[in-house]
Amino acid sequence: MNGMTLIVKKVTQLMCGLIFMYGLYIITHGHLTPGGGFAGGAVVAGAFILLILAYGSEVVYLKKEETQTSIIESVSLLVIIILALAGLFFGTYVFFNNYLPQGETGKLISAGIIPVYNIFVGIEVAAALLTIFLALVIYKEEVKT
């Protein structure tokens, strides 16, 4: 896949980090401000999509990346399941329990397990969207040849 012109590349270079940081902000502040794992994950995925579109890449690298993203996706979902099941084994013996201390409402470190879920859901969403996008791009490249 070919990249775009120099202007686009330069602007992407400047913007991409900002977008990525904004995504992380949305994810980590999900329990305080609007947003959360889903919105933030989608923003992070958007940053990567922008990079791929602007710079372009060889099919081989894209395939490698697809494998990586799908593994990251599965692993983060596994972590979510383990976190949910952990409630069954210690503390209250309840599935999907919020077993961490809740802290003070309105602070960044609060709300028990919610921020942790937010982070892993964010990673999962970003990886899943990127996988979908990469699958489409790779298919297009493979068909062309």
Partner: protein, 512 residues
């Protein structure tokens, strides 16, 4: 040990998430893991049947207790009906997965196949166990999303077209259900099924409720492929890989279509005459039209798919007769008999149609074709397939030693005793039609004089495929034992009781 219903969902999900990671590095991990998971779930289910249970087991996810009698969390409810459906799902899931080991070897992306299969099982178990209407929607989407991908697994022209059609109609159904959930939330301000039932029983808006029920019947009717909504079923079920066809026809349309209709219209809404009549008519229509459409099919899997519509019609008719009797204040024993016949036919059809699709898969595996006119005289070359499919054909056409006879007999007896003579006559006539097209199925594939012209692709069938088919034909005979009272009391009657004691579901759960 306490029963943990969440395990039914979490275990297949964990399997699905593990397969892409570990399966990437370890060869054959995907097959072993998915067989172990489905086998474990089957044993777990049978163990709970053997151990016995009386009251529904309720899990409050997150441990949130009800506040002022209003449930605030998602409830998982394991009662007689759920247990019955879980048994059906686990049984077919294990046998199909085992069969798939031999069948799917030819394809690439085996990891994805098994992961999607696990997701589908998780989705169905989630729907069956859930006590929350939005949760039902979410898990239904998992199950159907996995099935969309699995139908297109072969990525040939036919598979893609079938999958697109399936997605369009399935998507419409999902959105109708979502809209109906919105309407229900508007009326009751709650999502918990038991709580919805209590609110509706204490007073409702009749016109709004009627509209919601119409949307729900259309939505779940599309998922269950009742006759005006059946267009997607023959394509999707015939194009999918055979183990998946067995899963789709055997359990998916039952777990997400019929189960949801049963739960909603028996336990949640107050039964009305109009709805009961509508369901009976749709059931009878499916029974007749599906059977008639099956006669002229030239493709073996399409014939089986149309036959599924017809047999699902039997299930729905049995249940509809029960509803009509209850609404008219008739004899409860006859109603229970009719519903029992419907549910009995549900598990019978799962096994029979599962087996028939596996047979069709075996034929396709060996010959590479599915058209009647190209096949013939395979009984000598494929003795196991020929024998097992003869058993299944006789079973589904209601010939005595097999299970299909008893369930159809129950439905017909109930219809006669409730004085629905037309329905009873239709059921008998359609049974002969079924016998007719299955005799053709047998004759043209296995016993005709014209031999199959082409060369067989493989020397012999893989052992796993044979094992699944033989187990299923044994099950076909064994399931007829369900009419014996002591077995019936364990498996069938708890499910029927849940449905017949319509209001008790809500009271058991909210505890008021």
């Amino acid at each position: 040990m306490e029963l943990i219903p969440a395990l039914y969902v979490v275990l297949p999900l964990t399997g699905a998430f593990l397969i892409p990671v570990v399966g990437y590095f370890v060869k054959d991990f995907q097959k072993i893991l998915s067989v172990i998971i489905t086998l474990f779930l089957l044993i777990y289910t049978i163990w709970f049947f053997a151990a016995g249970y009386d009251s529904p087991v309720i899990t409050k996810v997150g441990g949130w207790e009800a506040v002022d009698g209003i449930p605030i969390a998602i409830y998982l409810v394991y009662d007689g009906l759920s247990a019955f459906l879980l048994l059906t799902v686990s049984l077919i899931a294990f046998l199909s997965t085992f069969y798939a080991i031999g069948y799917i070897k030819r394809f690439t992306a085996e990891n994805n196949f098994y992961a999607l299969l696990c997701l589908m099982i998780a989705g169905m178990n989630g729907v069956v166990l859930s006590g929350d209407i939005f949760n039902i929607y979410v898990f239904l989407e998992i199950a159907v999303m996995a099935s969309y991908a699995l139908v297109a697994f072969g990525t040939e022209k036919r598979e893609l077209e079938a999958s697109f059609k399936y997605q369009v109609l399935g998507g419409i159904a999902s959105l109708l259900i979502l809209f109906a959930i919105g309407l229900l939330y508007w009326q009751t301000q709650t999502l918990n099924l038991a709580d919805i039932s209590l609110v509706l029983r204490s007073g409702s808006h009749p016109t709004a409720l009627m509209f919601t029920q119409a949307l729900l019947i259309a939505g779940f009717g599309l998922k269950a492929a009742m006759i005006p909504f059946h267009a997607w079923l023959p394509d999707a079920h015939s194009s999918a890989p055979s183990p998946i066809s067995a899963m789709l026809s055997g359990v998916l349309i039952k777990a997400i279509g019929i189960y949801a209709l049963l739960r909603l219209f028996f336990n949640i809404f107050l039964m009305t005459y109009e709805v009961s009549l509508l369901i009976t008519v749709l059931g009878a229509l499916s029974m007749v039209a599906g059977g008639l459409l099956a006669i002229g099919q030239g493709d073996i899997k399409r014939l089986l798919a149309y036959s599924s519509i017809s047999q699902i019609g039997y299930v729905i008719t049995g249940i509809g007769i029960g509803m009509l009797i209850v609404v008219n204040g008739g004899n409860k024993t006859i109603a229970a008999l009719s519903v029992a016949g419907g549910l009995f036919h549900l598990i019978n059809h799962a096994v029979l149609k599962g087996l028939l699709f596996l047979n069709a898969g075996a034929v396709e595996y060996m010959t590479g074709v599915r058209e009647f006119k190209l096949l013939g005289g395979l009984s000598k070359k494929m003795p196991v397939t020929a024998t097992t499919s003869l058993g299944a054909s006789l079973g589904i056409s209601g010939i005595p030693p097999f299970n299909g006879f008893f369930s159809k007999l129950l439905i017909i007896i109930a219809a006669v005793r409730a004085e629905f003579y037309t329905l009873a006559a239709l059921a008998v006539i359609m049974n002969f039609v079924t016998l007719g097209y299955f005799l053709r199925f047998q004759k043209e594939i296995f016993y005709s004089k014209e031999e199959f012209i082409g060369k067989l692709l493989y020397n012999k069938l893989p052992g796993t495929m044979k094992f699944s088919m033989i187990t299923m034909v044994i099950l076909c005979v064994l399931l007829s034992l369900l009419v014996i009272p002591c077995l019936r009391d364990i498996i069938l009657n708890p499910a029927v009781e849940v449905l017949m004691n319509t209001g008790e579901y809500a009271l058991n759960i909210t505890g008021s």
